[in-house]
């Protein structure tokens, strides 16, 4: 598999299927691991960093963890390719911007990615569409076991898996669920979710993680505690308590919109569709926001000739790096906005 094979299609997690997919975009589990015998990257020399990268890369490729695994040497990759991987949630923004020997292994289904030499030596990640946390845990646990046969990970009897940052120590796990909550946003009740999440020691971030604005009503909810709560318990809390509660709020809000604000709802849905089908210049923020309203309209049965999956794909394909890859040229300013608008018009008219 080549990196360019990724551009034209959406990853597994954007299939728009999977349980609760009208509200849950994707489920992600990440594990942080460090290899015993090497210092953390904070203090590793260039030589050790390179040596470690080579050793981990070989181990991953030998372990045959996913079909047709692609390994990208990020130190050699272009900025645009790194940006593309960020947009697909395969590497972090931090990993893209860092320097020195580092890479990422990606399975052809894109549900598995392994970042090498990020903040920790290894960051394993499984990403699934819809609410599939148990499935994600099973897969990542197996990958972790398989790697561990070849690499001994730093582990402390009291502190568990050791990580460069003490906020990740213990299980090293981060469970994140990406939610689409347009109705709560429209009714001005989204704060309720933020408050509830905060009470449960959860973090809420935007579409592209730490420090990004939650745009297009897409929100990522993740745990912050990694010590004293085991993996299964954490996942079970997400699956049985946290996420159903938020989904329930959102569904109630959607029902309210449909029953009490039907005309106003139709107005924003069809206004969004109208702009998406006619605009000539479109920023990525505006696109996300309008696509969010369109997605809501599809779920509530107001728009019938467009599939949720088409909207999911547009969310990804209209991101700057994807757009430039699709058009096969560097685009900036109005050229980029024009290309985005044209691509959206083409996609939404074709159906």
């Amino acid at each position: 598999m080549k990196l360019s094979d990724l551009t034209g299609k959406a990853g597994e997690w954007l299939r728009g299927s999977g349980p609760m997919s009208e509200t849950v975009i994707s489920s992600r589990i990440r594990l942080a691991r460090n290899v015993k015998g090497y210092t953390f990257l904070t203090t590793a020399s260039r030589k050790h960093r390179r040596e470690l990268e080579g050793r981990i890369r070989e181990t991953i490729l030998d372990a045959d963890l996913a079909p047709k695994t692609l390994y990208v040497d990020l130190d050699q990759a272009t900025e645009l390719d790194r940006e593309l991987l960020v947009e697909r949630h395969l590497i972090s923004r931090h990993h893209a911007a860092a320097e020195g020997a580092r890479g990422v292994a990606v399975g052809s289904e894109e549900d598995l990615s392994i970042m090498v030499n990020e903040e920790d030596h290894l960051r394993l990640q499984v990403l699934k569409s819809g609410l599939q946390l148990d499935e994600a845990w099973e897969q990542i646990n197996d990958v972790d076991d398989a790697l561990e046969e070849q690499l001994e990970f730093s582990f402390h009897p009291r502190f568990g898996y050791l990580t460069a940052c003490p906020t990740n120590v213990g299980t090293g796990i981060r469970v994140s669920v990406m939610l689409h909550l347009p109705a709560l946003k429209l009714l001005g009740e989204i704060e309720k979710v933020f408050r509830a999440a905060k009470d449960m020691k959860l973090a809420v971030r935007g579409l592209y993680g730490e420090g990004t604005e939650a745009t297009g009503d897409f929100y990522q909810v993740s745990n912050q505690t990694t010590l004293g709560k085991d993996e299964q318990e954490l996942i079970s809390d997400f699956k049985h308590t946290t996420i159903p509660k938020i989904i329930d709020y959102e569904h109630q809000a959607r029902r309210t919109l449909r029953s009490e604000r039907a005309t106003a709802l139709d107005d924003i849905v069809f206004r969004a569709l109208g702009v998406l089908r006619s605009a000539r210049l479109m920023s990525s923020e505006e696109a996300l926001k309008l696509l969010s309203h369109l997605r809501l309209g599809i779920h509530l049965g107001r728009v019938k000739d467009i599939e949720i999956q088409a909207v999911n794909e547009l969310v990804l394909m209209t991101q700057p790096a994807h757009l430039q890859k699709l058009m096969d040229k560097k685009l900036e300013g109005d050229d980029r906005k024009a290309a985005r608008a044209e691509f959206i018009r083409y996609k939404l008219k074709a159906v």
Partner: protein, 176 residues
Amino acid sequence: MPEGAPDNPACEHCSKPKTVHVTEIKAGQKIEKHLCKDCPFVNEGVGAGAGGKSHQPINELLSNFVLAHSGAGASTAQKKCEVCGMTWAKFKQGGLLGCENDYSLFEEQLTPLLKRAHEGSTHHTGKVPTRRRGDGAVRKRPNMNRLRRELTRAVEAEDYEAAARLRDQIAETEGN
């Protein structure tokens, strides 16, 4: 988003052309809103909560808590990791540890920080590396926290059979 601020001519809530600018003071910050007249949707604080740094970064924890509480006495100041050269002062600056040895070396100083960051917990419960299981090096740690929580739940639900079983399990684990 990677692109600069959009020149978005629409209401922040419903995409109608915007005609009103509202400036709101929230938590000491001035927030500008661009809304349509008679927006049919309730308007809440723009981006409050989600856009901000809700993940309390380690540096913040360090400056708010550890610096205030740990005296960082002379003995701490003199400690230096012989593997990677990390000192407590360097850690406070960067927020990242240098090698696995640092967790043992600075165990005492890290404990209050970990407590703060992990809802009071200072012990790992959860997965243990396969190669550590059953070889006598490290015993698989049973999850006491979970057992205790399950016990509380069982008692609340008046499921005394389950409660008795859990109590036995806890006693057995503690006896080990």
